[in-house]
Amino acid sequence: MTATKVVPMPAGATPPASARATPEKPRRRTGIGERMMPYLLLLPALVAVLVLLGWPTIQMLGISLRKLDLHELVTGKAVWIGFDNYTEELTDPEFWSVAVRTVVFTALLVAATLLVALVIAVLMRHLNPVVRIILQISLVLAWAVPVIATTTVFQWIFDQQYGILNKTLDRLGFHSFIGYSWFSTGASTLAVIGLLVLWQAVPFVAFTLYAGLLGVPREQYEAAGIDGAGPWQTFRAVSWPAIRPILTMVTFLSVLWDFNMFGQVWAIRQGGPDGASTTLAILQYLKGIAGSHFGSAAAIATIMLVLLLLVTGRYVQLLVRSKDGELA
């Protein structure tokens, strides 16, 4: 894979054994069974994805071209209205400001998540076992706590009158925080939501990266150590190539989740104050689901899908191509 080639080796360092798959020689054995095997192995997943995700998605695309309110849903009538649902959204200036806000929020949140998680993953590798287990337990707790509970707890911590944060700040001498509202502007509301999401998302990403780091055979580090590479050089030469594919993967996943995230944003302020923390997922709920206008909901969801494809398209392309190239 390209990553391995791009990363410069410190002079004199032993190049790490390639963490990538060495090309499978297709010539070696080409019996019918051998040729059919990949497909047989893929079949269950393929069928499941097509039936349980593909089919509903196609239906969603169909619904986006229909007027599907409660009446049509219950009676099973199909009222085709062409692209009306789309033009209604795309000509609404509010839609575009929400779209921009969603993209910016997602970008900042993903960057923060990855940075914090990466630092923690590397930290875990270097900690002594006792501290590492303490850290891991607190991460797992953060991860295992149900979203509804976390959200409630955060609301409480940030409550203007009874929140422990304002009370603590007051005690520390910042008396202006008595009765301070953390939700008075869209930006600060989104910042609190961001913290909440960070707290929930970092454990998974950190553990994934940590698992990736552990997948690197120990002797590669030892080799780098013997060759006198410093910690930064070792990280760049050994750790980075090993976790890069995983890092790109979690970046991609984080983008998807943060972009589509609904529950946390909704729970904190329902997209308020005055709509200033409304993201596309919230807009989809408000305009579509809340009033049972499933056609509009599907149209917004489709636009979100297209936006996501635009944002991640280059990445998807690269990913599929490079993964393929690496086996070629």
Partner: protein, 276 residues
Amino acid sequence: MRKSLTQRVTLSVVGVLVALLFFFPTYWMFTTSLKTPGEVLSPKYDLFPTSATLANFASALTKPGFVTYLSNSLIVTLGAVLAALVVGVLAAIPLARFRFKGRKGFLLLILVAQLAPLSALFIPMYLLMRDLGLLNTLPSLLLVYFATSLPFTVWMLYGFINGIPYDLEEAAMIDGCSRAGAFRRVTLPLLGPGLVTTSVFSFITAWNEFLFALVFMQDKPKQTLPVWLSSFKTAFSVDWGGIMAASVVYAIPALIFFLIVQRKLVSGLTAGAVKG
């Protein structure tokens, strides 16, 4: 790899600080669950609890149906995780280790499948389950959770298998192992951490899911824990202490699950170290 004493101490201090930061909301949830309604909304400074009551736990656990909801949740969640892991490993192997026609297309499919906004899919999914005659049955939820975590599982496992040098497997094959044997003995143990993070992730996602559980299951005895949790909030009153106590109870199975797989993670690591 050698570190000086000050380096090690600094690292430990940083580690503990980060741990505290991530621990705090959980701690806050726990102490809140030990508070009486009056203490929850008290202007007093209460970073450390001055008294504790177990009344919230008692009222949470004696709420009717807890055991039923718990077992329903366990069935659909564990079922979905297991199914996704089996099907996921099966699909990840050829993706990572074979070259065949349609591989690229499948990868694309798996990637794009994850883009689907689930909140917009609940109507089509509902119609699908209705037409399959599965509404109001646990398999409908199991299938949805399985399907939603499958692309992710395949993708992650594919990445993890890819990250494990194929040379090791080849070496084993030269030593006389079959392809399957080589995979099982060399790659599978090294895959341990990957399986763990992936399964914990799908577990927690399924464990927390609310909307589909609410909408698909019309009869009370078939509902799951997230729906139970929301019953602490009625139109006119919210039992905050109860919610927090219930959340603590609710988080426990997820923790147990993690502890079980954690052991696997460790054994997977040691196996990897020995083989590597």
